[in-house]
């Protein structure tokens, strides 16, 4: 195994593109180190990027924020602007691991690890965030929702890597929230998860919404039917029930050591409903 710290993004893309063996990028390293140690992967090349310009900074952009790929959960949580604009995204990121893991873990790492249960991802999908990708052919942008391809897999091409996440500006009276279920309060992986981002009008009617679910399908998924269930409502009891039902109906989970199909399906609906209520409160609406 080689450990390399390239001087530029371009150099990193070239290195990664030319390597014939297994490559890994380390920024937080909290997944890669575990996989290496367990023998799950034996990379031939590990590339450390976090010293490169911009990768550890959060910068305002077009009313939203561009967040470098190596920004840790702890750093993100300390950024008042992001916390105020996208609290649901931040709470998802901050649920990854312990305080110690937060000191290193990044939302980009969480995304590119490809776990269906990744805590950072439903919030990003609900937020309609995009990532900027560097590769041998230069840079491109892509919606977060299009990155996961299945458990442990992404749509990134050979030599490609994410350099930043962009969280867009949002209208007034908007809010988002993320909830997951774990048996313990901390140090766990989501058994089911839901993120909701919504906007209400002056009367408290939901005018726009995005609902994303985690740990209930091979990838984190956007559930338009769940969003449709609450758009045009004040999130009254009927809308809440419709939301929960739509979320549960969209689930395609597995039975495993962490939870049953039945449990995940039911709880995903419950979480979607509860997250929507939190998002609504954050948007200033009332049900």
């Amino acid at each position: 195994m080689r450990f390399v710290r390239p001087e530029t993004l371009e150099e990193a893309a070239t290195l990664l593109g030319q390597e014939s063996g297994v490559t890994r990028i380390i920024s937080g390293g909290t997944d890669v180190m575990v996989q290496m140690r367990s023998g799950l992967v034996a990379p031939d090349l590990v590339v450390d990027l976090k010293h490169l310009t911009g990768l550890r900074s959060i910068t305002p952009e077009a009313g939203g924020f561009r967040i470098g790929a190596a920004v840790s959960g702890a750093q993100l949580g300390e950024h008042e602007g992001v916390c105020a604009l996208w609290p649901g995204v931040v709470e998802g990121v901050q649920l990854i691991g312990s305080t110690q893991v937060q000191g290193r873990a990044t939302m980009v790492g969480n995304l590119c690890n490809g776990s269906p249960a990744a805590d950072a991802v439903p919030g990003l999908v609900a937020a309609d965030a995009t990532v900027r990708i560097m590769g041998p052919n230069g840079s491109r942008d892509c919606p977060v929702a299009e990155i996961p391809a299945g458990p442990g897999r992404t749509t990134l091409g050979k030599g490609e890597f994410v350099t930043s996440v962009f969280l867009p500006a949002r209208p007034e009276r908007s809010g988002d929230a993320y909830l997951r279920f774990t048996p313990r309060t901390e140090m766990d992986i989501a058994v089911a998860a839901a993120a909701v981002s919504l906007t209400v009008d002056a009367k408290g009617v939901v005018t726009a919404a995005r609902v994303a679910l985690g740990a209930v399908a091979p990838t984190v998924m956007l559930v338009p039917e769940a969003a449709a269930a609450i758009i045009g409502t004040t999130l009254d009891d009927a809308a809440q029930a419709a939301l929960a039902a739509a979320a549960s109906a969209a689930c395609n989970p597995i039975d495993d050591k962490r939870g049953t199909i039945e449990f995940r399906t039911r709880v995903a609906g419950v979480l979607a409903r509860r997250a929507a209520l939190i998002a609504l409160a954050r948007a200033g609406g009332q049900n």
């Binding site: 279920f181 048996p183 313990r184 309060t185 039945e262």
Partner: protein, 746 residues
């Protein structure tokens, strides 16, 4: 040794909370644990483990591994001589599989090399040909006549004919006429329960450093609850004399029973003998889960009869335990402990142990008792619910007390159960209001406590300080308690004493740190060693004063003339006597060695409030109070610590911890991510109430306290959840999917 007249005794040091002697080492990172020791020229060893739950080993070819540069030794079972003694042979086969691998993760071979990388690369070069065999991991399945046989010919003569060969032992306890007892009942409830295997979950993985020369002399550094036990097992397995092997116990990062045996130590010694170099083995966390000893898994049927006014008329339990792939006697203890908290006219418990393709059980805090008492206390609680009775009143009505013929045979002497129940009843927790979806659970618990072989040497230094040498690793503050008892007895300040834990060559045999024995047994030996030293110091003073030895007594840390007739001499302090010891006959030391009995049983009562989220099945523990009889709490902080720590291990067992096996018989959760021990944010404050009902078998009244606290939480949590949701679960852990499923079943 009988209780001193403690009613009148005013303790000066015992009962206070001084800083522990090893405190600074442990808060500065200086304390050395198993993996913290190195030696010049040291090799690192790694172990090859079975990927199958059950398979015949057709062949092992280690030649390619041996040829790899940097590999200095490879061992397999072929490097050891099978032992005639079955107990020892089981330990050996567990350390390295012989003809068959018996569980996922069973060790097959080990490689010592110049680096961890080389050792790991060498493991990949070892060719093992397996022939897979059918496996069984569930205890009830293992007892069926058509179950795959884990090991043949291991059934004791106690097993009734016609049972599966996997059943290795059977036991029965009890007394009275069951039929007549049940006939007197107004309500009889019969239920079946299961509990998952759980792991002790000590934070420090097993580690050792072995050095063994061609001359047959060896040194072993390891984290263990008993260095003497490690020595005798390793000496036997390696065919060397015990005197030639010195075992030093490192500081120990938790054990809870799991470090009372060996897993890697004989392997490291064999590799060292073969390579002529020191060899270190440190287990990974997944190896700890896969191949060290969890507790038994269990399946239990309980039947209890009760009158309308809450009198238990008869109790019966059938316990089926599996201690993994080797015979295991834990069910005997469960069967004896099941009904120990009750005064019963008719009681019967039957137990069976069955082999399964799981790792060999190791003791875990009150081994066998939590599973059995969980089932019994659940049924008692359900009877109370159905008869509309207060569960605490019912326990008071039926509680075992002095003079009760216990469910396991003997008649109880002074025990603290009644007082403990009364304390719970009087506590504000018991009457505090509960909210919606909240429930309060109660359970009693019991453990036998043991004494055992113990040696202590107490050296009086010429500057008036005292050194104590004892032989039990300090797993939770025992150095402090031992120093306190010596200070109490000698009448000198606590900080004039330093207690150290000896290696096996520096002190006679000491049994393992288990059975809640150390503060009781080592404390008792320390008191006796102090009295031995005191008599010698009195004799020196008598010599100096020119009076009879009998005319000298020891008071407040000094020798004094026994009365006016003895003569008028100012008291001579310990320091004064010590200062002239070279002139009065030489160094002064006290010794005591014995096999301690009379540990005195221990009872505890736990109260817990929970709130259940009806939509997710999640359980939150809101409030927790532990009531326990400590006999005499020598260092109350560490007594509270035992009570709190045991309670939290029990909470984990009740709610989330479990060994999960797949269809393929492989362990699915060998790590702290999916084997969920409680974290700080899962828990409320754990309140403690220490009762002190003196143990008649100890001069200060001390009882063991370490094990009992893990017993009540299982039923206490289950009873609380049942009362919160109006449904009773019969399986542990009560994980959220199980609770949600119970809620959705109308």
């Amino acid at each position: 040794m009988a209780l001193d007249n403690t009613g009148q005794r005013v303790f000066k040091v015992v009962g206070t909370r001084p800083p522990r002697p090893d405190g600074v080492d442990k808060v500065t990172g200086r304390a050395l644990y198993g993996a913290d020791m190195s030696a010049p020229g040291m090799l690192v060893a790694h172990i090859l483990r079975s990927p199958h739950a059950h398979a015949e080993i057709v062949s092992i070819d280690t030649s390619a591994a041996e040829a790899l540069q940097g590999v200095k030794a490879v061992v397999t079972a072929a490097d050891f001589t099978p032992q005639e003694d079955e107990y020892l042979d089981d330990i050996l086969v567990n350390c390295l599989a012989r003809d068959k691998v018996l569980y996922d993760g069973h060790a097959v071979a080990a490689v010592a090399a110049t680096s961890a990388d080389v050792a790991k690369a060498a493991l990949k070069l070892i060719k093992v040909e397996y022939r897979k065999l059918p496996h069984v991991t569930d205890v009830d399945a293992a007892m069926r006549p058509d179950a795959p046989i884990v090991q043949s010919g291991r059934s004791l003569e106690t097993v009734p004919e016609g049972m599966s060969e996997n059943v290795t032992s059977h036991c029965e306890f009890g007394h009275g006429d069951l039929e007549a007892g049940f006939a007197k009942a107004d309500l009889i409830i019969e239920r079946s329960f299961t509990t998952a295997a759980t792991h002790q979950g000590y934070i420090e993985p097993h580690a050792c450093l072995a050095t063994m020369g061609a001359d047959g002399k060896g040194d072993l550094w390891c984290c263990t609850q008993g260095q003497y036990n490690v020595r005798s097992i390793c000496a036997d397995l390696l065919g060397i004399e015990a005197s030639q092997l010195r075992v030093t116990a490192s500081e120990i990062g938790g054990g809870f029973g799991g470090k009372t045996t060996v897993f890697i130590e004989p392997v490291a010694l064999a590799l060292s003998r073969k390579s002529g170099r020191p060899v270190k083995i440190v287990m990974s966390r997944s190896e700890v889960f896969l191949a060290t000893g969890p507790t038994v898994s269990s399946s239990t049927d309980v039947k209890i009869g009760m009158t309308k006014d809450g009198r238990i008329t008869a109790g019966q339990a059938h316990l089926r335990y599996s201690g993994g792939a080797f015979p295991c006697g834990t069910v005997d203890m469960g069967a004896q402990a099941a009904f120990a908290a009750y005064d019963l006219e008719a009681v019967q418990t039957l137990g069976w142990n069955a082999l399964t393709n799981r790792p060999k059980e190791a003791a875990y805090r009150a081994p066998g008792a939590p599973q059995a008492i969980y089932a019994v206390e659940s049924v008692v609680d359900e009877l109370c619910q159905q008869l509309g009775l207060d569960p605490l009143e019912v326990r008071l009505k039926n509680a075992a007390r002095k003079g009760t013929k216990s469910s396991y045979g003997p008649t109880f002497d002074d025990i603290g159960l009644m007082a403990t129940l009364e304390a719970a009843k009087a506590h504000p927790h018991y009457s505090a209001p509960l909210g919606e979806n909240q429930g309060r659970g109660l359970s009693a618990g019991f453990w036998f406590n043991f004494g055992g072989n113990t040696c202590v040497t107490l050296n009086v230094n010429t500057d008036g300080t005292v050194g104590i040498t004892e032989g039990n690793p300090d797993i939770g503050g025992s150095r402090a308690a031992i120093s306190q008892m010596a200070a109490e007895e000698l009448g000198i300040p606590y900080d004039k004493i330093r207690t150290i834990v000896a290696d096996t060559s520096s002190l006679g045999h000491n049994d393992v740190t288990d059975g809640s024995r150390v503060t009781f047994s080592v404390g008792l030996a320390t008191i006796k060693a102090a009295r031995d030293a005191i008599s010698k110091m009195c004799s020196r003073a008598a010599q100096i004063w020119g009076i009879d030895e009998e005319a000298v007594v020891w008071e407040d840390g000094a020798a004094c003339p026994a009365g006016p007739n003895a003569g008028k001499f100012p008291p001579m302090t310990l320091a004064e006597i010590a200062a002239v010891s070279f002139n009065t006959g030489g160094p002064i030391a006290g010794h005591y060695e014995f096999n301690a009995d009379g540990a005195g049983v221990s009872f505890g009562v736990h109260l817990v409030d929970v709130e259940v989220d009806r939509e997710t099945g999640g359980t939150k523990v809101l409030r927790y109070t532990v009531f326990q009889d400590a006999g005499k709490a020598v260092h109350p902080s560490y007594v509270e610590g035992q009570m709190q720590g045991g309670a939290v291990q029990g909470i984990g067992w009740a709610l989330n911890e479990e060994y999960i096996y797949g269809e393929d018989g492989r362990l699915q959760n060998p790590g702290f991510l999916d084997y969920r021990i409680p974290v700080a944010s899962d828990l409320p404050k754990i309140d403690t109430v220490i009762l002190e009902i003196p143990n008649p078998g100890h001069p200060y009244g001390v009882r063991g306290v370490g094990e009992t606290p893990i017993v009540p939480p299982l039923a206490a949590l289950s009873n609380a959840v049942s009362r919160a949701i109006g449904k009773r679960l019969h399986s542990l852990p009560m994980s959220p999917p199980r609770i949600l499923k119970a809620l959705s079943e109308a």
